[in-house]
């Protein structure tokens, strides 16, 4: 007897249909599995056998052949346990096969028959919806991921018996209720708030600009200056995620397996802090199954790289292409996958190996050659992609005990939101969404300077030892400064502020 059940697999973030076919014949008892299964799927025969037995069904001692079609794509992960088990039940006539039609099943089984959480539910549901399926059965623990996808009924069950009961019509079930699809109203609480950062006016202003224009930022300063603290404040002033952004980020987190079970949609912008021992693959993504890396997990959020020169040069260089293209393509022998990687790079570094160069609090013990070597670990092309470079100095004791509370993140965020709104309007029909992403043509169009600003910029290049690469960076940043000030034109004042955010370009490092 033959039974067919629909399921889905994933290549990167793209889902594809998988037919799970089970044929039960008389013959020597045994299970044969074909269709390029990986080890996890191959082992599912043991889970399925026990789960069926422990769910008060019979597992007949017959010759069972399982095929996963299409047969030429390598399938992986334990998510086919549930469809296989149901197909076996249908093939042995313990379940009405007709009711299995038009429904997609995914889920991992445990030996006692309960359903376990799997990775990648959100992209699978989106793919199933696109393929025209109306009903999907998933593990109960994955239900939160699905509430924002409308137009498809999702049933979440805790066990094989529950799922089988629903199929056979013995037990009634209601689909997972949908959340209001238009807005994400969840108020997001962040652990760090700008108001707890004492002093650091220049750095806070720079962060505000970075958040408003989506600019990458590098903080330079002695250890203990509060660079990490400042970076952690950044998510609290970034604009809320839109539904599309949230869905995209959740998809990646779902595939990467870093979504908590109570987490439905990710509404908090990701803040990823890979350690500097991270490998190229950990950052860019890869492995045999081409899983997303840190830069994709940080999609629509912040990638914070503390102590930038401590990362191996080869690891840093892989950032260059994603920073430009806003996505990363991972090619492996088995598959080629593209993941979005639209993150804001926030980096911090010491000015020299000992950390005290230029500091007023300690004497630097590094030789000029050591400092030069330290700085040369970060390549020019990478620095080219960082718009803001600021210095963060240690705060003084007086500032620390100052009881006056600084401006809180919420009011900074208001200004950021305002500037972003202007940008959304400006880049309405383009692929760009904020000032940092402006192309050369857009810079020409949107960053025209009046003669005052023009002559000031010329002056600045002549007198402040700015390098040529600073030019477009300054234009982009001054565009954001102008947006924050609700000014249509970039004035001399905006340029004057922007030139101060090019610390590494300034001659005093040479």
């Amino acid at each position: 007897m033959l039974a067919k059940v629909k399921s889905f697999g994933l290549t990167g973030l793209i889902g594809y249909e998988v037919d799970v076919e089970v044929d039960v014949n008389a013959g020597l008892p045994g299970i044969e599995m074909v269709g390029l299964p990986d080890a996890a799927i191959r082992e599912s025969r043991e889970r399925v056998r026990s789960a069926i037995k422990n769910s008060a069904y019979k597992f007949a001692p017959n010759k069972i052949t399982i095929n996963l079609a299409p047969a030429d794509i390598k399938k992986e992960g334990p998510l086919y346990d549930l469809p296989i088990a149901l197909a076996v039940l249908a093939a042995t006539q313990q379940l009405n096969a007709a009711r299995l039609q038009d429904t997609v099943f995914v889920g991992e089984l445990s030996l006692d028959g309960s359903l376990r959480r799997v990775r990648g539910i959100l992209p699978i549901i989106l793919a199933a919806k696109k393929a025209g399926y109306k009903r999907i059965v998933i593990p109960y623990e994955n239900r939160n991921e699905t509430v924002f996808v409308g137009g498809v009924e999702v049933f979440a069950f805790k066990s094989l018996a529950e799922a089988a009961g629903y199929i056979s019509g013995q037990t009634a079930a209601t689909p997972v209720p949908k959340a209001d699809g238009k807005t994400i109203t969840t108020h997001v609480e962040y652990a760090e708030d700008m108001k707890y950062v004492k002093g650091q006016y220049a750095a806070k202003r720079a962060l505000e600009i970075a958040a408003a224009g989506g600019h990458n930022i590098l903080m330079l300063g002695p250890p203990g200056g509060g660079k990490t603290m400042l970076a952690k404040c950044l998510p609290s002033i970034l604009p809320e995620m839109t539904l599309e952004e949230a869905l995209e980020t959740t998809k990646i987190h779902s595939v990467a397996g870093c979504l908590g079970s109570d987490e439905g949609l990710i509404t908090r912008r990701p803040f990823r802090t890979p350690h500097h021992t991270a490998s190229k693959i950990a950052l860019a993504g890869g492995g045999p199954s081409a899983r997303p890396g840190e830069i994709s997990v940080a999609h629509n959020g912040v990638l914070f790289m503390d102590e930038l020169p401590e990362y191996p040069r080869a690891v840093l260089e892989i950032l260059r292409q994603p920073l430009e293209d806003r996505q990363v393509t991972v090619s492996r022998a088995q598959r080629t996958v593209s993941y979005p990687a639209n993150f804001m790079l926030v980096a911090s570094m010491n000015p020299c190996p000992c950390g005290n160069y230029g500091s007023s609090h300690g004497e630097c013990t590094c030789t000029p050659a050591m400092i030069e070597k330290y700085h040369s670990r970060i390549s020019g092309p990478l620095l080219d992609r960082i718009d803001l470079q600021i210095e963060v100095e240690n705060v003084t004791y007086d500032e620390l005990i100052c009881s006056e509370e600084a401006e809180d993140s919420a009011s900074v965020k208001e200004r950021v939101d305002f500037a972003r709104k202007i940008q959304t309007e400006r880049y309405k029909n383009t692929s760009v969404y904020c000032n940092a992403g402006m192309s050369s043509r857009m810079i020409n169009e949107y960053c025209s300077l009046d003669s005052d600003a023009q002559s000031l910029l010329k002056d600045a290049f002549a007198r402040l030892d700015l390098s040529a690469r600073a030019y477009t960076r300054i234009l982009k940043v001054s565009r954001t400064i102008a947006d924050l000030a609700d000014s249509e034109n970039i004035s001399a004042e905006h340029i004057a502020e922007a030139v101060q955010y090019r610390s590494l370009d300034r001659g005093y490092w040479k």
Partner: protein
Amino acid sequence: MGVTENLVYYWLGISGITSRRANALLSKFSPLELWEKIGTELTNVSAFGEQAFDALIRYRNEDFLLKSIEKLDNMGISFITFDKFPELLAQREVDPPTLLYYKGDISLINSNCIGVVGTRECSLYGKEATYRLVTDLCKYNVTIVSGLAHGIDTYAHRATLKAGGKTIAVLGSGLNCIAPQSNFGLSEEIVGSGGLVITEYLPRKEANRFTFPERNRIISGLSMGVIVVEAGFKSGALITADYACEQNRTLFAVPGNITSASSIGSNRLLCDGAVPALSAEDVCEALNLSFRKIKKNTRSIQLDIFEQKIYNILLSGEKNFDSLVLSAEMAPQKLTALLSLMELKGIVKRKQSNIFCLA
């Protein structure tokens, strides 16, 4: 084509005999006479010294000499022989070589030179002091001489280039083996700016631990005075200081922190009688150069009310950005823009770590 005097000088130079001996010989014979008669009429070896005599005989080959000059020419390298050395360099105490190879403007060796030397492992203070002194010295139209090493030497050259002055780099290696390699670009810049890169070593001679101390005598030899900006306990700059004393040059030292390891040597020099180099004026006065000072440009700048406020705050010393925000009671973004404008007007200067001071 007969042998020219110039060729004879080159011959004397490349044979590697000391300038003292060469001068002694030339006081007895005219150059051409020497060329003609050596080995034939002049066979009294003891008058030359055995090694010198052998060397002179060995190199006495017109073809070889002409070819070697042509080779130098092809590499873009010129040479100057001891007969054309300026008075200071030709002094007996300097013990100058007979031949110097160079690229750039050789007339600089006749200008007023001041040596600026110091340790490779300098501190931020050393860098600042070098820039300040050198920038001001350039206003007196002096040429800055240094050794193209890391640290103070590099800063001395860079500061001169920035100030639009002239600088001479004396190498401890051949012109084709510039050490440290990272300063090759700097050497090109020096030549490009109308400066001079000079050495006593053959173009392909690699630097070694002996050549650096050796070239120090030329740094001090070219200079009227030598400023030691920063020197540690055993810095090579102290060797230059020793040479400067031997050669009767005025020795200056920049006072440093008594707690700073990189100022131990230079502070010791002050104890031993070096002139404190507190400013370019001091240095030039000690060298009687003050009459050459180019008039300072003292145009007055009109400050607006905000600029005046910042100016007044900075009068009491440098301030970091945070304390400026607090004392000026201004919004950070406004202050940033204002400081930029003041920086462009040349009123304030930004240093590392967001510190601002009056220019």
